[in-house]
Amino acid sequence: MLTVDGLEIRQDDFRLTADFTVPTGAIVAVIGPSGAGKSTLLSVISGFFAPVAGQVLWDDRDITKAAPGERPLSIVFQDNNLFPHLTALQNVALGISPSLRLADADKGKVRTALDRVGLQGLEDRKPAALSGGQQSRVTLARVLVRGKPLILLDEPFAALGPALRVEMLDLVAELARAERATVLMVTHNPEDALRIADQTIVVADGVAAAPVPTKELFDNPPDHLRDYLG
């Protein structure tokens, strides 16, 4: 269970507060106008940006001060998720060992993960030799081998075409449910939220609201969300 307790984020004259919990295994969309602080909220949860007040807890353990790599989560950014000079296999293997020293069992794990995302046979390709969708799959394979209970996605498929984006969303949902992982996904597209997210957090007017069931939210949106949806 992810708990965001009395969180206050400040950056120059930008201010955002958040106070909510996300149950284990839920897939939650984070939606709201650009500049509202969706990505900043993810930055704080993942440890790249320190809040001025409040705590981030995972299963009641305070992780507010932990280093990004030591938190029980994997994050997928909008871009630059893969190192262009490493092969698909190496990029995934980094999720097991940053020094890339792998035991045979670890190599097996990496191969299995690549198989699960549908990339068998492409282990030795570098990102430049993979399509956009395949690159996203490599990133997801790394999320799998890391095996962290929380997955943060910061508009990861925004650069993909509509059909491919839907395909990747379904893959995320499938993998997350199989792993019983909790997912927080920033998106600006209501369809993405409706497709895979049980619940949705609306970030607007300086507040990240507690998650509410996605379908109800879009059936009967509050005013600030209606303005955004148009």
């Binding site: 993942s46 440890g47 790249f48 940006f49 320190a50 507010t64 001060k65 932990a66 280093a67 990004p68 790599g69 030591e70 994997s74 994050i75 950014f77 630059n80 998720n81 190192f83 262009p84 000079h85 490493l86 190496q90 980094l94 999720g95 940053p98 020094s99 890339l100 570098k126 990102p127 430049a128």
Partner: protein, 523 residues
């Protein structure tokens, strides 16, 4: 940012490198200072050296920038076949061995040179190349291209839309100059002037070859003479302090006027100029570009021509000198890369702005240190224990690495920052810290910049005729020193061949490293 384990492996080598640089610059200066015997010891000829140093630097900087403005303007507003090649060649003097350029200039402007012969046939007196003229001529040869590139960069930084707007408003060339170009020049020219002034104040090899005598001795040359001919350590020490003071003041002024970056980006861009279509302006620009190209290329052509002719007379001593030089250059390049990477990683890993600044400052100390002062200081420090002549080559490599360090830092510090901007968060989220981050992130991503920096360092070291002249064992000269000796002994053909070999080796080393860094690079 949340608390992150301090990546110690990225900090301590950089701190060590900074201490080494500080010891080599400030430490040797202190060693020199302890040897000096007060200002009363300065003779009239010492002051003459100071005056000459400042005068020639002032003239070289003024003439280089004054000529560079019209040449850069011509390059900025004309498109022609070979333009990109010419601009690339303008960057070449930076890695051109000084002694090779001096040889080429002598072949054109010297007593038996092309221009003298031309003058003779029309009954004009010979030109006198030795002395102030020659020193300034050589400095202009080296720095006119640099100034042209710096100022051309200023022109490229004016957005093309402004020239389009000027065209739509019917601006004349004069209007464009007043409204668009003069403000840019005001921001660019002082910086270019100061860089060249600073470079020329540490002139040694040019003064050694073309100056000399009581009227044309720079402080660096005076240090060499006091050391080499009179073995007057106290006098050399005092001159060393003077040289450091001159460099430090010039470097401080250079930082104050904001020196433009010597980058290559955007130089191959031309903008359509509606104001400069007149036939007279076209001829003017063509003449300027042609003159600049000839001034640059003819001396180098003479080196190639005479060199090929002299090849059969290449003495065996040149071959062994070349081998020594290559080894020294490779060591210097390796050392430059290790020191500058260590400093760049530490600068990127430091959190306090002050600490960052201090490390950067130490890196740039090398700009105001003169190689001969460092050499003199090292001599004073080591001669009680070791015969300095026996370790002349390692010292040369060390001092060469120190001299290349500021350039390498200019390349690598921004490159490391760029890698961190692009991949830092991803690496942090994967706990890619410490050595793993260096090995799997920095080194692969920095191959291009590291290759470029190593190429510059290798070429600069290959062509350096500085500290090696202080200690050199007659039996173990480097190639530039050997070439200088051949020239001094009037073995012109052998010197030409050695010059061609030196030029080829310098360019080859640069090319190999630079190429090696870029080949098979991933996006």
């Amino acid at each position: 940012m949340a608390e992150r384990a301090q990546p110690l492996i990225r900090l301590w080598p950089g701190v060590g490198a900074a201490l080494l640089v500080a010891a080599l610059t400030l430490g040797t200066l202190a060693a020199v200072a302890l040897r000096a015997e007060g200002w009363a010891g300065l003779t009239g000829s010492d002051w003459a050296a100071v005056r000459f140093t400042l005068l020639q630097a002032l003239l070289s900087a003024a003439i280089s920038t004054a000529l560079a403005v019209p040449v850069a303007r011509a390059l900025a507003r004309r498109r022609f076949a070979g333009r990109a090649a010419l601009i690339t060649i303008l960057g070449a003097p930076f890695i051109l061995p000084v002694i090779v350029a001096v040889f080429g200039l002598l072949a054109v402007f010297g007593r038996n040179g092309l221009v003298s012969h031309l003058f003779e046939t029309v009954g004009l007196p010979q030109i006198q190349i030795y002395g102030l003229h020659g020193v300034v001529l050589a400095h202009v040869f080296f720095n006119l291209p640099l100034a042209t590139r710096l100022i051309l960069q200023g022109w490229s930084s004016i957005p093309a839309e402004r020239f389009r707007l000027a065209g739509s408003l019917g601006f004349t060339t004069g209007d464009v100059a007043r409204v668009l170009e003069r403000p840019m020049l005001k921001a660019t020219v002082p910086g270019a002037f100061m860089v060249i002034f600073l470079i020329c104040t540490t002139s040694f090899a040019v003064a050694l070859a073309l100056g000399g005598g009581p009227k044309a001795t720079t402080v660096e040359l005076a240090i060499y003479q006091a050391f080499r001919f009179e073995f007057d350590l106290a006098s050399a020490a005092l001159l060393g302090l003077l040289q450091f003071a001159i460099c430090a003041v010039a470097a401080a002024v250079a930082m104050w006027v904001q020196v433009p970056e010597v980058g290559g980006a955007g130089l191959d861009r031309t903008v359509e100029r509606w104001d400069a279509r007149g036939i007279a302006l076209r001829w003017l620009d063509a003449g300027l570009i042609l003159s600049a190209a000839l001034f640059l290329l003819v001396p180098l052509g003479m080196v190639a021509l005479d060199g090929v002719r002299g090849l059969p007379r290449l003495p065996a001593s040149v071959g062994s000198a070349a081998a020594r030089s290559v080894v020294v250059a490779l060591c210097a390049a390796g050392l430059t890369v290790v020191l500058s990477l260590a400093l760049s990683f530490a600068i990127a890993a430091m959190r306090g702005t002050l600490a960052k600044r201090m490390l950067e400052g130490v890196g740039y100390l090398a700009i105001s240190a003169s190689p001969l002062v460092v050499g003199t200081g090292l001599f004073i420090l080591i001669y009680p224990y070791v015969d300095p002549v026996s370790i002349a080559l390692p010292i040369t490599a060390l001092v060469n690495a120190l001299m290349s360090l500021p350039f390498a830092l200019r390349i690598l510090v921004p490159a490391v920052a760029q890698v961190d901007r692009q991949f830092g968060q991803l690496a942090d989220s994967l706990s890619l810290l410490g050595w793993a981050r260096i090995r799997h992130l920095y080194l692969p991503r920095l191959r291009g910049p590291v290759g470029f920096a190593a190429g510059l360092a290798a070429a600069l070291s290959m062509g350096d005729l500085g500290v090696v002249a202080l200690f050199a064992d007659p039996q173990a000269a480097t190639l530039p020193l050997q070439m200088y000796r051949l020239m001094a002994a009037y073995q012109t053909e052998a010197a030409a061949a050695a010059g061609l070999l030196l030029l080829a080796l310098s360019l080859a080393l640069f090319w190999l490293f630079d190429r090696g860094g870029r080949i098979n690079a991933d996006g």
